[in-house]
Symmetry: D2
Amino acid sequence: MQTQEMIASHPDVRGNVNKALLAAIDAAYACAQTCTSCADACLAEEMVAQLRQCIRLNLDCADVCAATATLSNRRTGSDEEVIRKMLDACATACRLCGDECQRHASMHEHCRICAESCRRCQTACQDALKTM
Amino acid sequence: MQTQEMIASHPDVRGNVNKALLAAIDAAYACAQTCTSCADACLAEEMVAQLRQCIRLNLDCADVCAATATLSNRRTGSDEEVIRKMLDACATACRLCGDECQRHASMHEHCRICAESCRRCQTACQDALKTM
Amino acid sequence: MQTQEMIASHPDVRGNVNKALLAAIDAAYACAQTCTSCADACLAEEMVAQLRQCIRLNLDCADVCAATATLSNRRTGSDEEVIRKMLDACATACRLCGDECQRHASMHEHCRICAESCRRCQTACQDALKTM
Amino acid sequence: MQTQEMIASHPDVRGNVNKALLAAIDAAYACAQTCTSCADACLAEEMVAQLRQCIRLNLDCADVCAATATLSNRRTGSDEEVIRKMLDACATACRLCGDECQRHASMHEHCRICAESCRRCQTACQDALKTM
């Protein structure tokens, strides 16, 4: 990802980037990927019936992460109130999804990796929130 | 949109739908459309330089509305905390975008229609929040 | 949805809308809703293990429909080649998903409604393609 | 991004990943980021009126890349026809957007970086298509 180079080249930013927000953007794209992939892998597991809640949270978390990453890229004008609400929603979605994935982490490698990705994104969103 | 028929046929819902949440889903899909379209129409206006903030808010609002509509469709398992946070983020995005569009409503028909769509979605999200 | 009013108010369109493309946009938003909802309802069914392919196609179809609807709204500048490719991809996704949902239509009301929604969107995308 | 580890842990994949498709997924997420960011940076440029076509193509390309990345993650069941159509649509969107960004590359660093990102994603999608 070239998030930093792109946002640093924005005419209103001119190199003065918010590093915590950059980290949240990258973590949110990465978490959208792991959650989409974990929902799909859970669906293929023999014990799919016991993974319904995990799939639900994965799909919701992927949607919130993708939207949060996308809109957090923008620096034209201002919309800080919405970024803050979305970072908060994203941290919540990642906390809930990460907790659920953790329950299956010893059994399913995809859940283990996804739980870590959710934790990283949750922390990155919380850190970004402190700067705004 | 057949949101009501679809959600009513979910095995865990069995006809017992939350009408306020249904209304928020439909309003959010409609608002994703108007905001995407308003951003695009503003970009084509001669006075585009004065519409930058409107375009920014339109794009952000479209992203939040699309994510909110999508995840609010789900009824398997539960994820109420995330739906609530997203309904709240969506109401905020719609309020800010609706206010900005309203400023250009007398000059641009697309801003006038979009401002109304944002108001409807803001109200629908707030009404849905009261039921959850 | 106020797709027609919005696009008719675009400064480069000035009322001269492509009605077949408008119909495809509305059908694609509606199909994104039914497919998202059908994936979720299938996941909650007792026989979820036999509905894996249906869920997969529903999720893919929802993603293609949402992207197709969003970008088909735009009239600033031009990008017809991409709209055509996406209308074609969307018609394909809807055909495959509609066929699969049809197989479960007698058993699951959500699959029956979703199959119809996929058919409508497939036809609308094919009709729009003929005009471009 | 942990795309490889996630897809390798899918129960139907068991380590036997398609490396060209993995590369396309990562390139498409990265290109969704650069295109979203380039549209936003172009909008803030003083010469925004001359960058309308670039913004339009950036927004369309971001939408196609995000959808292509998301659905290409899935391995449950099969939907190869749709993945192929989307990889093709994505290569087209990236070619057109990359060409337009290249025209502004000497003037705007964000267009230069985005043009490169579009080229990488176009090539990665074409390479993945050859394997399917």
